[in-house]
């Protein structure tokens, strides 16, 4: 009821104001209006051209088909890793490798608060050496259909006193986007909450190659 009344009042006020604009103010002569419109539309066109073609800060959202492919590949990788099939970890996804020398049997993994999310996968090596190889893999990351890899900082891996420190920073992604769809008219506005394609796709994996004689103690991992 109150909204209906508000709309009615809005209409009445709107009629008065617009009527004033149209009938009383004579500054908007046809030629002046034409110039104004031309300038305004040119600004719109320039903004479009700049955003779409000239700006380096544009990311084209990938297609659903592409996201679906990525999702399937990542699911496959997850199940492979669960089965300890590390062949799925491709060289192209390797970001860095570090080697540390263990001094004691029990190696503790220490994480900062933000580091709780980085999953560790261990392959046990038949080796008499005490070298531990830490490899960080990152498959392309997509969230809400947006390629967020450029925003994600690689974790810092440090070794001290037979402890493996994983230091991560929280990633904050802020973007602007345009949708030529309409929620009001029920035209193609993506309802993304339930769609797995708009969930996080992609993996960050810390792969440890550890000789069998060592133990890895990871108390804080959330994965």
């Amino acid at each position: 009821m109150s909204i209906a009344l508000l709309y009615f009042f809005l209409v009445i006020i709107g009629v008065t104001i617009t009527g004033f604009f149209i009938t009383k103010i004579r500054i908007w002569k046809p030629k002046r209006t034409l110039v104004f419109v031309a300038v305004y539309f040119s600004c719109g066109l320039l903004a479009f051209v700049y955003l779409m073609f000239l700006s380096g800060d544009i990311a084209k959202a990938p297609s659903k088909e592409f996201l679906q492919e990525q999702r399937i590949a990542n699911e496959q990788l997850s199940s492979d890793l669960k089965l300890r099939k590390f062949e799925g970890l491709k060289e192209e996804h390797l970001k860095f490798t570090k080697t540390f020398e263990a001094t004691a049997e029990n190696i503790e993994v220490i994480r900062n608060e933000a580091g709780q999310y980085l999953p560790i996968h261990i392959s046990w090596a038949e080796s008499g050496e005490n070298k531990i190889t830490v490899s960080y893999y990152e498959t392309p990351l997509y969230l809400n259909g947006v390629y967020i890899t450029p925003f994600v900082e690689e974790p810092r891996i440090e070794w001290n006193d037979n402890k493996l420190y994983i230091i991560e920073a929280d990633t904050m992604v802020t973007v602007k986007s345009v949708h030529f769809s309409s929620q009001l008219l029920n035209i193609g506005f993506p309802s993304r909450n339930d769609d797995p394609l708009y969930n996080l796709i992609g993996q960050r994996i810390l792969h440890l190659n550890v000789p069998k004689q060592f133990n890895i103690i990871d108390k804080d991992g959330w994965y």
């Binding site: 009938t23 004579r26 908007w28 002569k29 046809p30």
Partner: protein
């Protein structure tokens, strides 16, 4: 070009035109004369297709005029209330008129505007009453429509510009003959301009005749009351006035010899029209005499 037969127009119960019949077949300038409220503007609106006749038959350029595009394209109706878009300058108005009125004389309109000291950069809403009337008239004349209807076109104009505009109408009519109907209260000024008079009275056509015929219709007999009054039996008396010793009678003209000591004066078409459309119940003098001496005096 214009045919009206037993045309009637009423708004609700109020009758404006009761029985209007006339026919105009050739280009001429016609003065539409009548008292206030007699229906002159209504008749012009019906001819222009702006209003619909309640009854009767009307045909303009061979078609029924109401909401008829052919009629609209061939008839221009200029009146006081005519408005133009507020954002357009006079120049823009005149320039765009050519798109609608095929024969619109844009150059002439600009020249006349300049002659009238009205800047083409002005807006119609900014003009004074007289300037508005001048512009509207220029617009109407420059349109060179087959039928040009001018409703009180000189209202608000000063005498000088009125005279100029009468000449404009005449000159343009001579160059481009067409039907021009002018409804005006300045019949005296127009007598030299118009060919015919269409006199409306009580919702009917009281007279539709050439100006000369109207002028010949009645004469004024002037003299001492004792000399004039006895002679009136032989005439159709239209009106009498008494100014002290002088007695005046307006009578329908006939060929009988003039009585002795009575002078006969010719009348202008305007005077004749005034007499023909005079209100019943005497003149203003009668009203004052009534109030001064009482009804018994009469």
């Amino acid at each position: 070009m214009i045919t009206c037969k037993q045309l009637q127009k009423h708004y609700g119960k109020k009758e404006i035109l009761t029985d209007v019949s006339f026919q105009i077949d050739e280009p001429k300038i016609i003065g539409l004369i009548g008292r206030n409220g007699v229906g002159k503007s209504t008749l012009l609106k019906i001819i222009a297709g702006h209003a619909k006749a309640s009854k009767g038959y009307i045909e303009v350029v061979g078609q029924k005029p109401f909401q008829n595009l052919t009629v609209a394209a061939n008839v221009i109706f200029i009146e006081d209330a005519m408005t133009f878009p507020a954002v357009l300058t006079l120049k823009e108005i005149l320039e765009s008129a050519k798109k609608f009125y095929a024969k619109f004389a844009t150059d002439l309109a600009f020249k006349l505007l300049k002659f009238s000291n009205i800047s083409e950069k002005n807006y119609h809403t900014q003009l004074s009453k007289g300037q508005k009337a001048t512009f509207n008239l220029i617009y109407g004349i420059a349109s060179r429509s087959a039928i040009t209807l001018l409703d009180e076109p000189m209202n608000g104009m000063d005498e000088a510009i009125r005279n100029d505009m009468y000449r404009v109408i005449l000159k343009d009519f001579i160059a481009y003959p067409r039907v021009i109907i002018i409804s005006s209260h300045y019949l005296n000024e127009m007598e030299q301009l118009i060919e015919d008079i269409l006199l409306l009275h009580k919702g009917k056509v009281a007279l539709f005749a050439p100006v000369e015929e109207v002028q010949e219709l009645a004469v004024k007999l002037v003299g001492q009351k004792g000399n004039v009054e006895p002679a009136l039996d032989k005439y159709e008396v239209l009106a009498t006035y008494e100014n002290g010793p002088i007695f005046e009678a307006i009578v329908r003209k006939n060929d009988l010899p003039l009585p002795e000591n009575v002078r006969m004066l010719s009348l202008s078409a305007s005077d004749v029209c005034q007499v023909l459309t005079a209100t019943e119940g005497g003149s203003i003098d009668d009203i004052y005499r009534k109030s001064e001496y009482g009804a018994e005096y009469l």
